[in-house]
């Protein structure tokens, strides 16, 4: 194999990967926002619709805001999405996720808050790894999940506070309470940024 041949091979491979890599990153950039929208729409929207009981006319997924809620161990900022529900241009509710630890690990809870009255509008579980038929009983129970609605956000939602756990599903109930507690606190701290 001559040097010329090897050089040609290297050149061709570099060119091919370079051109395609550039093209791919272009496609990636062009589709990035759309992909993020679709992901949120398909993963979070069902819970979002359940948590929002007020009437609204916009697409809260489209009108979402990103807020910085803190930093992780490595010092990178933690960014959360806040979904804004509007009726005829007026903000009627905002929804954001808080995480608590249930029986099977972390669970996400979507909490909708009415900023005018500072009351919880509704909550719904987004992601969880609870035992089917045991822990899931709590998140399906109207009596348990309904307790949060109408409570002022300054109240304590943490376990041991004013919320009764669903019997037989204590860990899951406490996970949900923790999630709501954290979400409401994030809202209170970042109220100006969100609205």
């Amino acid at each position: 194999m001559s040097i010329k041949e090897i050089l040609r091979m290297v050149l061709v491979l570099t060119l091919v990967t370079g051109i395609w890599g550039g093209l791919l990153s272009l496609v990636k950039m062009a589709t990035q926002d759309q992909i993020e929208y679709q992901r949120i729409k398909n993963v979070k929207a069902p819970a979002l619709e359940k948590a929002l009981t007020v009437e609204y006319t916009n697409d809260p997924v489209k009108e979402r805001k990103k807020i910085r809620v803190g930093t992780d161990e490595a010092g990178n900022p933690i960014i959360r999405n806040v979904f804004i529900a509007k009726q005829n241009g007026r903000v009627v509710a905002v929804a954001l996720e808080g995480y608590g630890s249930g029986y099977g690990g972390d669970m996400g809870v979507m909490v909708a808050i009415k900023p005018e009255s500072n009351k919880v509008d509704g909550i719904a579980v987004t992601t969880h790894a609870e035992t089917p038929g045991v822990g899931t009983k709590a998140m399906k129970s109207e009596a348990f999940m309904g307790q949060f609605s109408g409570k002022n956000i300054s109240a304590s939602f943490a376990p041991g506070g004013g919320i009764d756990a669903h019997s037989g599903a204590t860990y899951t109930s406490e996970g949900i309470m923790q999630g709501v507690e954290r979400a409401t606190k994030i809202f209170s701290r970042n109220r100006e940024k969100i609205l």
């Binding site: 041949e5 061709v12 091919v16 890599g21 992909i35 679709q38 992901r39 398909n42």
Partner: protein, 204 residues
Amino acid sequence: MSTIWQEFSKGLWKEVPPFRFVLGLCPTLAVTGKVSSALGLGCGVIFVLMVSNTLISIFKQYIPGKIRVPVFIVIIASAVTIVELMMEAYFYTLYEVLGIWIPLIVVNCLILGRAEAFARKNPVRLAVADGAGMGLGFTISLVVLATFREVIGSGTWFGLSVLPPSYIGFDLVQNPPGAFICLGLLLALINLISAKTESKRQEC
């Protein structure tokens, strides 16, 4: 013109994949539970096959023989990534249903097989025709198999009910073992048909 037509049409019956040309079996079985997912994957394969055939045919004299396979793979894998990104952005439900089978288009032997056997030896227009024909043949095959499995298995076609509501779906054909059995029976049927037509041709 006639040769372009020939290269295009061979993919539709004479060498139709994956029936005559048993390449790309894995997705054939995996995505044919529903007509919609079969069609979705088929379109992805058509796109990748046309892109790879076209590019390889255009640049065939610049690709050194010794590294042609890596170059082909890079081209194919990049085309697949484009399909992946596009599907996630604009057809999210389909993207979720197809899941792992979109990246797996890369290792679909059909695509590398056409690059190796056809595109690197033929002019661009023929390579395009070949890619379109093979891709279309593959898609039609998937849809045919999916039609059978979806109608018998759940009484629907493309999500619309086509059988009376009292029909109780025959779950076996929707399950993985049923996929193998259906494809096996379909291949046997094609064997039978071609044996019949060939013996007729000999009689003439």
